[in-house]
């Protein structure tokens, strides 16, 4: 198990370095931060002064090694826009994002998995068709459209809920509903497929033939075996918790990590973008590791496969 974990950790570290390197290079190749931040009217001396102050006048490789040196010494830099420590800038947005993503995550699971299981168990029934229509709709309709639709109904027409901002808990309802619907639809779709595949297996027939009650067959045999693909999707959702939702946060003017990322990329606030990407990459990698470990626990054959592959 330790060797299994170590190999995953090494792979995770490589993934993080690759992601951060990619973002580091792309950001610097796609627009000079000095011009973006100082504006179109800024005189060339101001641009030069800005570049010098932030080390942008140095060769790319010098900047790159300076960045990693700083990261390993725990210094992620300061925002080019307002001079604040980027860790503080990013961390102050995390609670806002989690206030949306955690409830949405639970909505996803609480609605998506039961809906998928129920649809699979009642295949081709009216309810199955309804669940699938909702799932495909939730999956296909862009969150921007869904968000606007919810705002038009619940804010503009009915006047029940605020349409934007972060003044009270009521402001969170529509963004959570938007994210919850899309995520639940995805989970329902995958859970249904996984369940249908498992329900067609011979061991399910054997369990039924043994005289086990159908509920026991479903709980003990079908659900556990169908959990692998569902856990994969949940892992991705878990990893995305701190990344926020770029579109939803923009539509609902919610000042979370997603909005910070959009604004920082647009302004080429390099240190902030790098800090956000580093955080998201680490969370994603951590979530993937948790999923890997869970695979091993849910399906012990996985550990055996890993061992066999190493031999």
């Amino acid at each position: 198990m330790l060797q299994y974990l170590l190999s995953r950790l090494l792979r995770a570290a490589v993934s993080i370095v690759m992601v951060v390197t990619f973002v580091f290079v792309v950001l610097r190749m796609s627009g000079d931060p000095a011009t973006v931040i100082m504006g179109a009217d800024a005189p060339p001396e101001a641009i030069d002064a800005f570049r010098k102050a932030w080390g942008l006048d140095q060769p790319l490789w010098v900047q790159y090694f300076a960045f990693f040196e700083a990261v390993f010494s725990g210094e992620l830099g300061r925002s080019m826009r307002d001079g604040r420590d980027v860790v503080a800038v990013v961390l102050e947005r995390v609670p806002s994002t989690l206030a949306l993503t955690i409830p949405a995550f639970f909505v996803n699971i609480a609605v998506g998995i039961p809906a998928g299981v129920y649809a699979a168990l009642h295949r081709n029934s009216l309810i199955d068709r309804c669940v699938m229509v909702m799932a495909v709709t939730g999956f296909a309709v862009p969150s921007f459209i869904l968000a606007m639709l919810l705002v038009l109904i619940f804010s503009v027409t009915l006047g029940w809920l605020p349409s934007a901002g972060q003044d009270s808990w009521r402001n969170a309802i529509l963004p959570i509903a938007t994210m919850g619907f899309g995520g639940a639809a995805l989970l329902a779709r995958f859970t249904r497929s996984a369940m249908l595949e498992v329900l067609g297996q011979s061991y399910i027939r054997t369990a039924s033939a043994k005289g086990l009650p159908w509920s026991a067959v479903v709980w003990r045999h079908a659900l556990q075996n169908a959990a692998i693909p569902t856990i994969t999707i949940i892992g991705f959702m878990l990893g995305g918790l701190v990344a926020g939702a770029v579109v939803v946060e923009s539509v609902f003017s919610w000042p979370g990590v997603g909005r910070l990322l959009v604004v920082s990329v647009a302004n080429r606030d390099l240190a902030v973008v790098q800090a956000v990407v580093l955080m998201i990459a680490m969370t994603m990698v951590a979530a993937n590791m948790v999923v890997d470990v869970l695979y091993g626990l849910v399906d012990p054959r996985m550990q055996g496969q890993a061992r066999a592959a190493r031999r």
């Binding site: 627009g31 504006g39 800024a42 307002d82 705002v151 923009s250």
Partner: protein, 526 residues
Amino acid sequence: MTGITRRHLLSVSAASTAAFAMPRFASAQSTERPAVTVAVQRISNSNTLEMLTEQSNVGTRIYTSYAETLIGNNWIGDMSLQPQLATSWKRVDDQTVDVDLREGVKFHNGDVMTAEDVAFSYGPDRMWGGGTVEVPENVKVVARQALPAFERIEVLGPHKIRLHNSSIDPVLEGRLSGSIGMIVSKRAFMEAKSWMDWARRPITTGPYAITEYKPDSVLTLSAFDDHWEGRPPLRQVRFVETPETASRINLLRSGGADFACDIPPDQIATVEADKRFKVVGGPINNTRYTVFNKSHPVLANPLVRQALTHSVDRNLIVESLWSGRTEVPRGLQWSFYGDFYIADHENPAYDPDKARALLRKAGYNGEPIPYRVLNDYYTAQTATAQINTENWRAVGLNIKLQMVENWGQISEGGPETRGIHDWSAAASLPDPYVQMSGSWGPLGSPWKSNQWRNEEFGKLSQELGSSTDKTRRIAVWRRMLQIIEIEDPAYVVLHRNASFTAKRADIKWTPAQSFVMDFRRHNWSA
């Protein structure tokens, strides 16, 4: 035993004294004044509220509510200079101005404004560096660009200062109305941990004080009841950042906002279909134009640039994209220039035949000309660029439209790779020198980056800035317009920019001729 000790009594006494000494901010209990919420696309580009770091249209919208300059502008009237923190000013000579300061002005921290604060606001710690505080390099450059020949401020008394310039400046008084000249509390500035800490929460004198600022989210201003004009009309002004146009309109329609800014022309009818709302605004003192790069081998030839200027159909843009709600100015000048407004100046006419003839004369053979465009950084920018591109192609110009993401990409590559891009120009002073010479003269960025230079124009620009002979200055200005727009075009003027704000119909509020939002007493009733 009551449990009340001498220490308790002293602390209660001290708290009471402090409560009386502190500046008075409005509270819900003490007043029936309304609070308004304004949905804006951005609050601040730089995440700071200090105008030395926030030189932008969005910054212009908010700063007049919380900050003031010595000399103000009549934003909703004739744009004339108005007394603000200065009650009067007088020229001593071509390089010196005496300013009498308003008495009894308080900062939001309760301090009374003195000449020392004014001198400090224009001093090395805030603007120039070399004092006791480390000033960011870009701040020094911005300050020097806005006040190119500023020398010092001499304190003549508690409420009198003298401004010394190192050279003749015909618009010195006007420069004191610039946003970077907001007067700040010396004590509050020196108490801040650093320049940037200060910039996020400046202490100033405006009718509303900053009570909360969450970058990229919300700016809350509360009425400053000790303001020298008296109690402001609103208890609170909240600017809520709502980047999406649809979200801003929905926020207004759902009652979450009283104003929604930056409404595109094509959304005006939709908003006004609901009688509870009205869209106000129109042309502002900002002109959209498209600029040329003389360093590009094809555009080095003025005949090609003239052909470009003669194939722009301004009326088509104004009618189709702005529903006729803006206008085409007579070149890069504004009617509030007064005697400096050249009323008979004509834009290059839309004349495709003439453009084709000019291209033949230039020997143009279809060489590609890059045109870099940001995706609607300006209202309807992409559609405008597409109209222009098609018109240019129709006369035989091989325009390569390149959509880019940011200003850094506009100026990427060597000068020869940059052809055409969009820009805008604003003016707030009744004199062309600051706008035209600042943007296009030897101190402007196009000149410095070798995008456009013209020796005669450069000399005239310097004369416009140093001569005090008004008749001569008007003649110089006329010639400058002729050079830069007709003979050796640096740009082609498209139309005046327009700003539209949707608001509750029951609110009586007049938009300014700029991005400024004026919430003072003279501009509010509901």
